[in-house]
């Protein structure tokens, strides 16, 4: 299938690699962006209610895991709730049974998500395009059924209650969401860094090549299915970190984490933020989490009407998403600026 998703391609040969002037402007932009990101990450629990800040961080990483596949391999996973949810349950169970510090439980959850992702990914990568979305959705629903029935482990519809936030007995972090955030966010940033490393590595270049022309990439000698599978499992692991953080932060795990509406919600965040941008997902996540929180506290009981309408409008009119639109405006702006500077010289 030809992929004409309107995603800005990561430029293969950046002018900035050769032109020192362009390089300087690129460096300035990167540093500015880094500073903005740093302030956003550190300042979040000051601006919003700290438990909501943790939610935003977890969903942001979840959205990044979707974009890693959608934007850079051209695969829309509509079943990522499976990995978010499996990790949530696993992290919850590990924290309950062993009383380990919560980051250990979360990493355990992420590993469980990756293990589950191997068979699902192995089957799903045999189909591309829309089939991939349907197959991942179906397998995620299978996991939901299993969790629903396996009541001894998952608690069925009651969920998994009383998940502890152990952290070396440091009470402030274990009880105060504000301080908990600063430990949890380290895991989130690690996950995001991992995604960024994957995208900007030789491995990531092969993924983009597969997205753009699978037949040609195969002809060049790359095992396309294997690359797709590895990307899928890595993405599941990142989603797992996010799901684990979410579970520990809330102190309980419900079937909702495995529900397909959860898969849909994270896709919405990614599309709203901007596909193929990696950093768009977090923007979309912040918007949706804050919006849902606002709607829930105002007692409005039809959140799907709002989020669904945003989805429809976004897909109809605003396909680049927030980040994609902002980026193209900035690019146009700097291009015009450099051109003016150039003509003055």
């Amino acid at each position: 299938m030809s992929t004409d998703l309107e995603t800005p391609l990561p430029t293969k040969f950046d002018v900035a690699d050769f032109d020192p002037k362009a390089k300087r402007s690129r460096d300035i932009r990167r540093i500015a962006l880094g500073l903005v990101a740093l302030v956003a990450v550190l300042g979040l629990p000051w601006w919003v209610y700290p438990p909501i800040a943790v939610d935003i961080a977890a969903w942001a990483l979840f959205a990044i895991s979707i974009d890693l596949l959608l934007g850079f391999v051209g695969l829309l996973s509509f079943g990522h709730a499976a990995f978010w949810g499996v990790s949530a349950y696993s992290a919850g169970l590990i924290a309950q049974s062993f009383g380990v510090p919560f980051p250990v439980a979360i990493i355990g959850g992420a590993i469980a998500a990756m293990i589950i992702a191997v068979p699902i990914g192995y089957l799903a990568v045999r189909r591309s395009g829309i089939y991939f979305a349907m197959v991942t959705l179906a397998f995620a629903q299978m996991i939901w059924f299993v969790a629903n029935q396996w009541k001894d482990v998952t608690g069925g519809e009651n969920g998994l209650q009383g998940v502890p936030k152990s952290f070396f007995g440091i009470e402030l972090i274990e009880t105060e969401a504000f301080y908990f955030y600063y430990v949890a966010v380290i895991l989130i940033v690690l996950g995001a860094w991992l995604a960024w490393r994957i995208v900007n590595s030789p491995f990531g270049r092969v993924l983009v090549a597969i997205r753009d022309n699978p037949a040609r990439t195969r002809a060049l000698g790359y095992d396309v299915e294997r690359y797709k599978l590895i990307a899928f499992v890595l993405s599941a692991g990142i989603a797992g970190i996010a799901g684990g953080v979410f579970a520990i932060s809330h102190g309980f795990v419900s079937l909702q984490e495995l529900d397909w509406t959860t898969s849909g919600k994270v896709v919405l965040m990614t599309v709203l933020g901007g596909m193929g941008t990696i950093w768009g997902g977090p923007v979309g996540a912040a918007v949706i989490v804050l919006l849902e929180d606002r709607l829930a506290t105002s007692g409005f009981d039809g959140i799907g009407i709002i989020t669904g309408s945003i989805f429809i409008l976004c897909v109809l009119l605003f396909r680049r998403g927030i980040w994609g639109t902002a980026k193209s405006l900035i690019d146009k702006g700097t291009a015009a600026y450099t051109k003016r500077r150039g003509s003055q010289d």
């Binding site: 089939y131 009407i305 396909r319």
Partner: protein, 289 residues
């Protein structure tokens, strides 16, 4: 053995809804290249509309069987003209996402209006009770659903393969450029075909109304089973949708009968096996999408 026959009829009845709805999904995919995520919501709307028509206008089951698909047809046409048509030229994922958003909106609108508890609907007079064949007792309504949906599938197949309208629709689906060159206004056919697919989902909803709980979320699980069905049958294939629909209905019923709690998992195991053995689906063409 008696139990086996009962499960079989139960499976064929459930397969009837699946086959009708999957047929609608396949026709829409064929003519528009759209995987309609809102199909489960349309199925739910069909059942809810039947229940509301009964409650407000006193319209009985038989009248609903005709009126609801017509209403859904009109509704489908409105949706196509308002939303779906703008994205037809873009990647298939965009309409998949659009219809996903649409289903969220529809489900929550119904939830707000009618609540979360199930709406009442009786088995229509004349179809209650059990048919007794020797020692086997079969609910009359289930047998009716099976025969009725099979008949509808056959009629659709006949129209598609043996009539001029069907020929035009198939030509517009398979060779749109050539059909255009031969003077057929392809885009004029796309909108009614979408409406028709939606009407089939609505019809499946009406049939489900008497023996499924009618709630806003009744389509949520249904749509995922439908996706599994079209993956099993092959997305481009009308025959595949119908056969896989009945097959999945049977697997589900035997699973509930013999495998108990994990029965739903069987459908996905079946899907996994098909992906392993025939990645394009039982009736799918090799390179389809």
């Amino acid at each position: 053995m008696d139990a086996f026959l009962q499960y079989t009829v139960q499976g064929l009845a459930a397969g009837g809804f699946y086959a009708l709805a999957a047929l609608g999904l396949a026709v829409i995919f064929g003519a528009l290249g759209v995987v309609n995520f809102a199909h489960g919501a349309f199925y739910m709307l069909g059942a809810v509309t039947a229940a509301v028509l009964l409650d407000v206008l006193g319209l009985n089951f038989w009248a609903s069987l005709v009126v609801v698909p017509i209403l859904m047809f009109v509704f489908g046409i409105i949706i196509e003209l308002l939303l779906v048509q703008w994205l037809l030229k873009l990647d298939i994922l965009y309409n998949f996402l659009l219809t996903f958003g649409l289903s969220l909106v529809l489900v929550d609108l119904v939830k707000r209006q009618y609540g979360v508890s199930s709406l009442p609907y009786q088995v229509p007079p004349g179809l209650e009770g059990l048919l007794v064949f020797g020692s086997v007792e079969i609910p009359t309504y289930q047998l009716f659903v099976f025969l009725f949906s099979l008949a509808v599938c056959l009629v659709v197949w006949f129209v598609l393969s043996r009539t001029r309208v069907g020929m035009i629709v198939r030509a517009a689906t398979e060779e749109p450029e050539r059909a255009r060159a031969l003077g057929i206004n392809v885009s004029a056919w796309v909108t009614p075909v979408f409406g028709f697919g939606v009407a089939l989902a609505g019809l499946a909803g009406v049939l489900a109304a008497p023996f499924r709980a009618i709630t806003a979320t009744m389509g949520s699980n249904f749509i995922i089973i439908l996706f599994a069905i079209v993956v099993i049958g092959g997305l481009g294939s009308v025959l595949g949708a119908v056969v896989a629909g009945f097959l999945v209905g049977l697997v589900e019923a035997y699973g509930q009968g013999y495998a108990g709690t994990f029965s739903q998992v069987l459908i996905f195991v079946l899907m996994a096996v098909v992906i392993m053995v025939r990645p394009a689906g039982l009736f799918g063409r090799k390179e389809a999408v």
